[in-house]
Symmetry: C2
Subunit: 204 residues, 2 copies
Amino acid sequence: MTTTSQYHHGDLHGTLIDAASARLEKFGIAGLSLRKLAEDVGVSRTAPYHHFKDKNALLSAIAAKGFDQWHQIAVDIFEDEHLPAEQRFKDFIHAYIEFATQHPQIYELMFGQTLWGEGKASDDLRDIAYPSFQYQVSMTRLWQEKGLLPQDQQALRLAQVTWATLHGIARLIIDGIYADASHIEEMCNCAAALFMQQHAAAPD
Amino acid sequence: MTTTSQYHHGDLHGTLIDAASARLEKFGIAGLSLRKLAEDVGVSRTAPYHHFKDKNALLSAIAAKGFDQWHQIAVDIFEDEHLPAEQRFKDFIHAYIEFATQHPQIYELMFGQTLWGEGKASDDLRDIAYPSFQYQVSMTRLWQEKGLLPQDQQALRLAQVTWATLHGIARLIIDGIYADASHIEEMCNCAAALFMQQHAAAPD
DNA sequence: CAGTTAAATTGACACTGTCAAGATTCAATT
DNA sequence: AATTGAATCTTGACAGTGTCAATTTAACTG
């Protein structure tokens, strides 16, 4: 019951998620092979299928962890009362891109077609992802009320467009189109300035 | 030399691209199997390898076609002197999203990590894709000079951010995250208004 | 017509995800 | 404590995939 090989693994579910996360970061989502993964963990090829319906179910579990992680970051920024709203908005933008670029494979999982395409997304995944966006909508609404963001737009649309912008920047980097990563900072600043525009100059 | 089965296909190169494009639109990039493709064309599994180095080389050829197609659309809009600049900017936005949503698989190919990821992109692909973006930068610069877009930003940054926004919207739809396609129009309008802001209200 | 080259072929290899049947262990009930 | 039932893990197998090597066939070139 110590280190000797045991028929029942004990916590294969959790171990698989950990090992899969590690493999994912190294080899990407396509390079994550269930068979190699099983070998890593020291278990037969089909053992994982007793804990996850299929490969996507395992990936969903990893994505869920990613959503928790990101949501925590977003909340920390938004609820930091010390900083002025403008700074928090900028921080939010930079944090988003930083999260995406530092965990590209997880980001791809969270927002890529592997899990979302063709209505593949499970209800579990939806239930985790949607609140995260709803939270951003409420943040947007508040920034609008504070006069930081344009008030002549619906909060939902504004949130969708700002998110799309961040998502677009993230993907262009992650997917290898913007190979030159040295200008990311400036792009973020440009995006922030665009969204705030006249409001940016006022408080300072 | 007519319709009888012939050992040499004649124009396998072109036929493969056509058949692959058709298969791509139906089954997506992952569902495009070289073997099935060869079967469609009536040729052995490895015949395509005498015309394309590997699967990615074939996909690159299809992507190249897509770039040509899109560039033509962009040029047509930008050079339509009949319309005011503001309208052309809006048209450009809508055309981009329309192109992406009507040819999702090709768009994925053109801007996805399949061809671009990890420095995979061939020089040929780069030589086709870059001018397309450079053209958009020059369009942005002109719109700035006309006072349509903010002038306190570098044209390059502005073009990058606007492109990122469009790319983000496109991907969120294509990848199945924005399943509700009924609000795409409004999102595009919101994005256009954001970029133009004060300038939008002036001419009307 | 001979010889080189290009094009297409079969065979094979190393992978992949996943299903079906059987073996093993654990947990709970008699 | 023994038996039953469920959970867990195993081997075997199937249908795919991209791609390489060696080989045959056709077409061009001198």
